[in-house]
Symmetry: C2
């Protein structure tokens, strides 16, 4: 049984590595040579918009999924309509995740608190947005933003003008700046027959817009319950199949939805060693109509992203209980090239070990 993956990044790579023990085969589509998933599975080389290649992928696979939320929807939808191919998660969720305005509207429609926002397509609209939302705020592209790209913090009218000059060629969104106490994410799967399985809440620390550290389980149980309720609403809304993630700000104990990702998520990498079933295996189970696996945590986990370049292998492997995941990527500033995970019996021991690990890696983030 072959699973197709549009995109051959590290998420695709970890999907394939989770699927081989289940006896699955994989086929990726990605324009990049030396793509992380292409090193562990066959790959079709070409553009995400190449309908001939998309059709070949769909015809050769039981089900096709994606490992990147910015995969163009139009071509995929057209090919799926013409063929008998099955795509999971649903393209409606993919399309929503690609457009910050559609995302905000969905959160509002489902009664999920989110930031105040205003669509911005002109300098006039930007002025109106500043009037209505106030300062500070964040000007973001509606599409193609990830890891802090396509965003500018706006603290003054002058900064707003500068941000408009930088980003204004694309449709934008102006959002209130949330002075959050912490950031969390909830990850869960919806499978055949509407069964759902939700992982423990993740506490996330970003640096320069990129996730640096995740702790799980995180926060009081009422955050977990609230986040799981919001997640379930989105899963049901889309009659979803697969793993879905929602990121939240937490301000004075209230969850404020920031964005959703219709895929496995960086903040869920700890589940490989830290949960009974990993997010990658559960995504595959969900899209293939297999029973979902338990999301029970096996302890207290910390996941640290390796950004830019990998430290020498021995440096990390000599630390007891550190699980290394390299993605097979060339080094580049700001690039996620791997991660490592620790799982401990108590949160105190986890935090102590995470602190040592962050120090050894010279990662300057504070454990929340």
């Amino acid at each position: 049984m072959t699973v197709g993956i549009v995109g051959a990044g590290q998420l695709g790579r970890m999907l394939a590595l989770a699927g081989y023990p289940l006896g699955l085969d994989f086929l990726c589509l990605d324009p990049a040579r030396e793509a992380p998933a292409g090193q562990v599975a066959p790959q079709l080389h070409g553009a995400f918009t190449d309908r001939r290649l998309l059709a070949r992928l769909l015809s050769r696979c039981e089900v096709v999924t994606f490992d990147w939320e910015n995969v163009p929807v139009t071509g995929l939808a057209a090919v799926a309509r013409r063929g008998r191919g099955r795509i999971c998660p649903p393209l409606t969720a993919l399309a929503t995740g690609q457009d910050r305005v559609a995302e905000k509207r969905l959160f509002e429609r489902l009664g999920i608190p989110t930031t105040r926002w205003h669509a911005v397509g002109s300098p006039q609209e930007l002025r109106r947005a500043l009037d209505r939302i106030g300062l500070p705020g964040v000007l973001k592209t509606r599409r193609l933003g990830y890891d802090g790209k396509g965003q500018a913090v706006v603290r003054s009218a002058a900064q707003a003008a500068a941000a408009w000059r930088k980003l204004g060629r694309a449709p934008l969104l102006y959002e209130e700046w949330v002075d959050f106490d912490c950031e969390v994410s909830i990850i869960g799967a919806r499978g055949a027959g509407g069964a759902t399985a939700v992982y423990p809440l993740c506490g996330n620390v970003h640096g320069a817009g990129i996730l640096r550290l995740t702790l799980a389980p995180f926060g009081p149980s009422r955050w977990q319950r609230q986040a799981a309720r919001y997640l379930t609403r989105v899963l049901e809304h889309f009659r979803y199949r697969g793993i879905l993630t929602i990121e939240f700000f937490v301000r004075r104990g209230k969850l404020i939805a920031n964005e959703l990702a219709p895929r496995v998520h960086n903040s869920g990498h700890w589940t490989i060693e830290g949960a009974v079933t990993s997010q990658f295996e559960n995504h595959l189970r969900a899209i293939l109509g297999l029973p979902l696996g338990a999301t029970t945590p096996l302890g207290h986990s910390a996941m640290v992203n390796l950004i830019g370049r990998l430290p020498p292998r021995g440096t990390l492997l000599k630390l007891e209980g550190v699980h290394l995941h390299e993605y097979g990527k060339a080094p580049r500033a700001g690039r996620k090239v791997g991660h490592c995970t620790i799982v401990e019996g108590t949160s105190a021991r986890r935090d102590a070990r995470a602190r040592r690990l962050l120090r050894d890696l010279a990662v300057d983030v504070r454990i929340p």
Copy 2:
């Protein structure tokens, strides 16, 4: 960094799957099409004795290992002598593991209790062996035995004659029949600088000569200590690099070495989910000179082999906490086509769940 594997069976497959997260690449050599490891890594197709292919493998890999103990040593040794290739574990250990007489002599030399035995090359020697060792006993080929193949139990002179007719074309060994209380195995790694790491003792149940069930940790701590001492002697003797396994009979609380395997072992598959570092990752760490990982168990594990044909995926995956491993093999009677593992907090819960799993799989073995 590329690791070569002579043999592309399920052990090679699981080595590759453990090595990808470490950023390693793999290249296998195996004559079989559709080999388990060849489905997840590039494969050179050809005979294990093809020196041209062996030379190519050695020249393209940082280090070459093997996933089967019956890989012919002569060709490998000749190619290694001529080239700059590095082979781990040492070929001396591989050669010993291939010859039951060499194995017995090694155990005796290192003071490791083993069964009484007698080499048999003629009907006269068989008579002498029966006189000296008595009945019942087991007549075995010196070479190429695995999973109960190349063996015959001998309970009478008539059976001895029949066994001779069946096996007598090859050099043989006659061994006492051990009326054991249970069977155990010890698995450990020796790495760079002579560091060693030993896993908890495994309790093994065979059926028709094939491993059906492993429980770990198993038995009193003095068995563990004794087995680890014996294992360490063998590791030091060979100045070993990699994972080594010794199987023992236990009779009246005493360990009696049965055989050694210079490789990762079926009775260690539980370590993928059941230990901090799997036997596969530790084998790679050891042969690459990386620090060894912790062998600490994460709970009480049971591993059940799937023999002959796989049950439908959903049957196993609907059982909570069951980790499935399919090897990508076509069904065939008596063939190991996969395994599954459960890890529980207590041995009582592990045993209860294992019992249910064995019943669901219609595997007729008793939990020791």
